[in-house]
């Protein structure tokens, strides 16, 4: 058995699932635990099993609630003690065209068809509203696959009575809902079934025998897709590419063949394939994915290749270019360290199977797609894995490459100053620190899920939870944005405390590693203290829960002047700061400006 989690997915995912489950649970990683409710319009048993495996691969240990056969609507619509007690973190609604009760008849007038369309959509909308109100958690909803038979043939697509037309319009209505509602994600089985092959996907054998709305061998594909959405919601997407050069980004070996003889551009089919692959990679910058190079080459040869005018990817599309003869695992680790990313957030792309294997063995958790050695297959091999599945796109994402570039410029500037304080003052930093604002809630939720190192409580929050906290008077919430003369870092720090009697319990405190050692944490604390005092509170209480990754903030509260109250056997510590007397401000290098709207009020 090869790797059953690589394409094409193996039925072993279902038939050997217990064995696979055991070995996945033995992975040496920090799992997060999530409760997932599957509300099905058809059999979901193997879907649950396969979903469990894919989620474990992403470090998510799931507990499941499964509705009784085809009870998705009843389970959602009516008081349901079992589901309420389960308190789902995510609800996945597995429905398809077998759940469309009525279809247009050829004799129906346009109004009747329109009414039926709205009625069918309303059946689902009512359910989504009720789920939102009752459970307030993210919802994942299948759209619809195309029917596997066509009464009128091709005309089914254009005629309003045609089922293909009906499904298309229904899917657009679902998409409208997804665009206008947060925490609602479409699982695109319309695309997935086309990718898989509709006739195999919809094999009626599985429906009539077992009431499966899709063929059993297609179940791993469905589960893979749903797991991608879930891991994206919980911030487990990959963040960066580490790319080989020779025969990966261009045809040929630049050191041997010379830059002028590389295959790239529109002159040859092979050159076109490499150009298209470069366009595909370049498009990822819009998602905030960072491009880097890890190549066994002389640096000047690598650059001479990149400087060819017909390269789609230019030198400055890359944040770090490592072209040397060191092991690639070492170069990848260096890049990760410089960018304050963990090595497991990289996708490593190399045409050489030996290099791929070394990275797989040496860099735990890094993704290494089996791209083969044919450039025309590279895009599909990477794309189908869903490494960068988008569930929320914040404006910060598109600007990320620029931010990392500014960081590189800052670290160059740093070396020019002898005194660190002098360097910090030279940055002309300005912070905006204010309560959670609607426009930042998606970024704030993203940060709670992504930040592992500078994170005191490692508490993961969905956007819905962040919004709930923002609107609740029992909480003091703060986001921090930091600008300096090199550029805007965007929202980089998040803190939240719950008022309990005369004290504030700090349940959330984290900061992006891109602004480490800038005194931003002091600016945040000054502001938290100010706001707590304004409410008449007497103390702040801080908590540190150690994980494999957050050792750097073990002494955070000591540095902030807190007294340690207790420490348990696991190293969990509790700290307190008396704020009854006026405390001197700890930040002296960042200029503070509040949220503008708030100041106006």
């Amino acid at each position: 058995m090869g790797d059953p989690f690589s394409f094409p997915f193996d039925l072993a995912l279902l038939t050997k699932r217990k064995k696979l489950r055991r070995s996945l649970l033995e992975q040496d990683i920090d799992f997060i635990d999530k409760r997932i409710a599957i509300l099905g319009g058809s059999t979901t048993h193997d879907i649950r099993d396969a979903l469990e495996l894919f989620l474990l691969r992403h470090g998510i240990r799931a507990e499941f609630y499964e509705s009784e056969y085809a009870q998705y609507w009843q389970d959602a619509m009516f008081p349901n003690a079992a589901l309420e007690a389960f308190r789902p973190d995510i609800i996945y609604i597995h429905t398809g065209i077998r759940n469309i009760p009525r279809w247009p008849g050829l004799a129906d007038g346009p109004e009747a068809v329109e009414a039926l369309l709205n009625e069918t959509c309303a059946h689902f909308e009512t359910m989504w509203r009720r789920l939102e109100a009752a459970y307030g958690c993210p919802i994942i909803q299948n759209n619809f696959e195309y029917p596997y038979w066509r009464l009128q043939g091709n005309r089914e697509a254009s005629d309003i009575h045609g089922r293909v037309n009906f499904v298309t319009r229904l899917n657009l209505l679902f998409a409208d809902w997804a665009r206008s509602h947060g925490n609602f994600y479409i699982n695109d089985i319309n695309y997935l079934s086309a990718y898989y092959g509709l006739s195999r996907w919809s094999d009626p054998f599985y429906w009539h025998m077992y009431k499966y709305a899709l063929a059993l061998p297609a179940v791993p594909y469905l589960a893979h897709s749903v797991a991608n959405i879930i891991k994206s919601v919980y911030g487990r997407n990959k963040k960066a590419f580490a790319l080989d050069l020779d025969n990966t980004l261009w045809g040929g070996i630049v050191g041997d063949d010379g830059a002028e003889n590389l295959e790239i551009g529109q002159e040859t089919p092979v050159g076109q394939a490499y150009s298209e692959f470069q366009e595909y990679l370049k498009a990822h910058k819009q998602l905030g994915v960072i491009l880097n190079i890890v190549s066994k080459n002389e640096a000047e040869n690598a650059l001479s290749g990149l400087r060819r005018p017909d390269m789609t990817l230019k030198e400055d599309d890359f944040i770090m270019i490592k072209a040397n003869w060191e092991p690639k695992s070492q170069n990848l680790a260096d890049i990760a360290h410089t960018l304050s990313l963990t090595p497991d957030s990289f996708v490593f792309v190399d045409d050489n199977p030996a290099e791929r294997e070394i990275i797989r063995q040496q860099v735990r958790g890094a993704a290494v797609p089996e791209i083969g050695d044919k450039p025309e297959n590279y895009i599909a091999a990477i794309d189908r894995m869903g490494y960068f599945e988008v569930t929320a796109l914040s404006s910060d994402d598109a600007a990320r490459t620029e931010m990392y570039r500014q960081n590189a410029a800052r670290s160059r500037a740093e070396t020019a100053f002898s005194d660190y304080g002098e360097y910090l003052r030279s940055l002309d930093m300005e912070a905006e620190i204010a309560p959670f604002a609607p426009m930042y809630c998606s970024r704030i939720a993203q940060l709670t899920n992504k930040s592992n190192q500078f994170n005191l409580t490692t508490r993961r929050c969905t956007q819905a939870e962040i919004e709930a906290m923002a609107g609740d008077k029992r909480y003091i919430t703060l986001y921090g944005k930091l600008r300096d003369k090199f550029g805007d870092n965007g929202v980089v720090s998040v803190a939240a405390g719950e008022v309990i009697g005369g004290r504030l319990d700090i349940i959330l405190w984290l900061m992006s590693c891109r602004v480490l050692k800038r005194d931003m944490e002091y600016a945040m604390m000054d502001e938290l203290v100010r706001r707590a005092r304004a409410l008449g509170l007497e103390s702040l209480r801080g908590y540190y829960y150690p994980t494999a990754k957050n050792g750097m903030v073990r002494d955070f509260y000591a540095a902030q002047g807190f007294q340690k109250l207790s420490e348990d056997a696991d190293g969990n510590t509790v700290w307190e700061l008396d704020i009854r007397r006026d405390l001197p401000k700890k930040n002296t290098v960042i200029k503070i400006c509040g949220d503008k709207k708030e100041t106006e009020r």
């Binding site: 039925l11 279902l14 038939t15 064995k19 059999t43 193997d46 054998f205 025998m209 077992y210």
Partner: protein, 79 residues
């Protein structure tokens, strides 16, 4: 492929699906003899057998299966 060979391969399929390396099957084995063999694992079992032997069962044939012996006969007719 003779019945003995089919039995050998099918035993492996059963062992995978029911996650029991010591499991043995005979002509007379039915769902009643294996604790985890319910209607849901039955689906997985049949699909695993299809995959292993490279065959595709039709509904009518699958529906009438009474015990492992009949499953072996069915596979024997298809391979």
């Amino acid at each position: 492929m003779n019945r003995t060979e089919i039995f050998e391969k099918l035993t492996e399929v059963f062992r995978d699906v029911f996650d029991d390396e010591t499991l043995t099957i005979s002509d007379a084995t039915t769902a009643g003899d294996i604790e985890d063999w319910d209607s849901l694992s039955h689906i997985t079992l049949l699909s695993a057998a299809e995959d292993e032997f490279g065959v595709k069962f039709d509904m009518k044939a699958v529906h009438g299966l009474k015990n492992v012996g009949e499953m072996v006969n069915l596979i024997g007719r298809l391979v």
